[in-house]
């Protein structure tokens, strides 16, 4: 299944760094997010977009992960050549990530 089925997400920007939250609709899915939505997978998913490091923070109280992606916004929101200089649409791309829910469908 897609990550979109079990989580929602929002992107924020600061300078050339983008952060993307991934929040489980149901807290019971949080372990699945912890196991499968790793910083390495997120970095690979954003190949060609993220130039720097990806760091993951965990917020178990709200069943959320926060990904901080360095060197992602074309040199910074105020100077980027990109159509979406803020990277606001990146959260939707992340929700396309494939999640293995342990069932064969």
């Amino acid at each position: 299944m897609k990550l979109r089925e079990i989580a929602h997400s929002r992107t924020g920007d600061k300078g050339n760094t983008s952060n993307i939250s991934v929040i489980a609709y149901d807290p019971r899915h949080f372990p699945l997010l912890q196991q499968q939505v790793t910083a390495e997978r997120v970095r690979a998913h954003f190949a060609g977009v993220v130039e720097g490091e990806v760091v993951r923070y965990e917020l178990p109280n709200i069943a959320a992960l926060n990904f901080v992606m360095d060197q992602t916004l074309g040199g910074g929101v105020t100077r980027s050549l990109a159509l979406d200089a803020h990277g606001k649409s990146l959260s939707s791309a992340l929700l396309d990530l494939e999640i293995d829910d342990g069932h064969t469908s």
């Binding site: 998913h45 977009v49 923070y57 990109a82």
Partner: protein, 446 residues
């Protein structure tokens, strides 16, 4: 326990105006905060002020103030805003003029000044955080340097009886923290209270982003009545407790989900949310729906503030030229790709000097690049977009021209060409020893 109700009337400079009027009219609020100052807005406003000493504040100040001042004056609602941009004193004088013209006398308008730290930054030649270089190395490209001030001068203005407090650059959550410090007498070293207040300010500062804006995803996250989106109200207790809500009957929704998304918006390490007044810790925050459109947020904490203030430095970075043209129907994608190839070659052939170029197909890969978008379907129409960074306006203009000439020289059926060329004012950051910024308050009476 004493509680205050703070309404958030704008999340950015161009935001809708009626939701703020609705808050003042029906929100039973004590304070109305307008956050209107983007990252580079101060730098642009500084340029405006250099051309005209009475300019340099938010262009919508007059419209917003005219819309809410009579209601706020009648109900005793205090206004706090960063619409002062590069010229808070002129904004205060303008607001006093507006108040008089509306027949409102005796309003006390306060301007918080001192965020402009250009001289201090120049004399200390501070290193830039985002790239290798220092303030001095920016030379005559340097436009402005404004420190993110904390809540203290705004709280001081409120305690001195201000009805309207107008700042320039200040931390966004501090606009909300100031009324709490003023109303509850919080000590400026009670880090946990300041941390909790910062959670509240952070959640409220983007206005509609916590009431269902920037959130709806049909079938997954449905939000009613976004055209009449209500802006949020924070009910803050003197112990820093918080309930987020909105005006009954307004559009949108306040849910645990909207609050969680906004909690992490523009946050990096949730344990270290650096503010001028405190380092806030969001990592233990809990969110609980207690009634429809009422969400309790608890668990915010804080630790001692740092010895530096973040300073936003505006500078002339470069020029950007851009051109766009559309193709549709069968083969649209192939013609769009051909168009990009032609422009790529033309820019080389004609020797356009650029330091960076970008070739996008809107509808295909313009948002996330060719790799992330590789598995997308072929669209009915695509829009070619070529952008490039140049050293001067003349070169920037040539980029759009090379797209426009595709009309008569490019693939079949290109339509709707558009071009632009502009200068780029960018921002970078430095950290300034906090004692070098000297904020103070000046009053104007209407």
């Amino acid at each position: 326990m004493r509680t205050i109700r703070i309404g958030s009337g704008a999340g950015y400079s161009g935001d809708r105006i009626e939701p703020a009027v609705e808050l003042a009219e029906k929100g039973d609020i004590d304070y109305l905060v307008f956050e209107c100052l983007g990252e580079r807005t101060v730098a642009l406003a500084q340029q405006a002020r250099m051309r005209n000493p009475e300019a340099g504040y938010d262009p919508l100040l007059e419209e917003r103030m005219r819309a809410v001042l009579p209601l706020c004056a009648a109900r005793g609602i205090k206004i706090v805003t960063n619409m002062g941009a590069a010229n808070p004193e002129a904004a205060a004088r303008k607001t006093a003029d507006i108040a008089r013209s509306l027949g409102l006398s005796k309003l006390k308008i306060a301007a918080v000044v001192g965020d402009d730290v250009l001289d201090a930054c120049k004399s200390h030649d501070l290193p830039i955080m985002e790239f290798d270089g220092t303030i001095k190395q920016l030379g005559n490209k340097l436009l402005s340097a404004n420190a993110y001030l904390g809540a203290e001068p705004m709280a001081e203005a409120l305690s001195a009886g201000a009805d309207v407090v107008i700042t320039g650059r200040a931390s966004d959550p501090a606009l909300f923290l100031a009324p709490m410090i003023h109303a509850f007498g919080w000590a400026m070293d009670d880090w946990n209270l300041l941390g909790r207040g910062t959670v509240a300010g952070h959640l409220l500062e983007c206005a509609g982003q916590i009431t269902g804006g920037y959130f709806a995803d049909p079938g997954y996250k449905d939000i009613p009545d976004l055209a009449r989106l209500g802006f949020p109200i924070g009910e803050v207790g003197e112990d820093g407790s918080l309930v987020v809500t909105k005006v009954p009957g307004s559009g949108g929704a306040v849910t645990a989900q909207t609050c969680k998304e906004q909690l992490l918006y523009e946050v990096h390490d949730p344990q270290k949310y650096f503010q001028p007044d405190v380092v806030a810790d969001f990592s233990q925050v809990c969110v609980e729906e207690i009634a429809p459109d009422r969400v309790r947020v608890s668990g915010g904490r804080g630790t001692k503030r740092t010895d530096t203030l973040k300073v936003s430095v505006g500078y002339v970075d470069s020029f950007i030229g851009e051109g766009q043209i559309s193709y549709a129907g069968p083969g649209a994608l192939a013609r769009g790709r051909l168009a990009l190839d032609i422009v790529r070659e033309r820019l080389k052939l004609t020797g356009v000097s650029t330091s960076e170029l970008r070739f996008d197909l809107i509808g295909m890969d313009s948002l996330h690049g060719p790799q992330v978008s590789a598995h997308g379907n072929e669209p009915y129409e695509v829009r070619v977009r070529v952008t490039g960074r140049t050293e001067n306006l003349r070169e920037a203009v040539r980029i759009g021209n090379e797209v426009e000439t595709l009309y008569t020289n490019g693939p079949a059926g290109g339509g709707g060409a558009w071009k632009s060329a502009r200068d780029v004012v960018a921002v970078a950051s430095v950290l300034l020893p906090r004692e070098l910024a000297k904020p103070h308050v000046r009053f104007v009476e209407a």
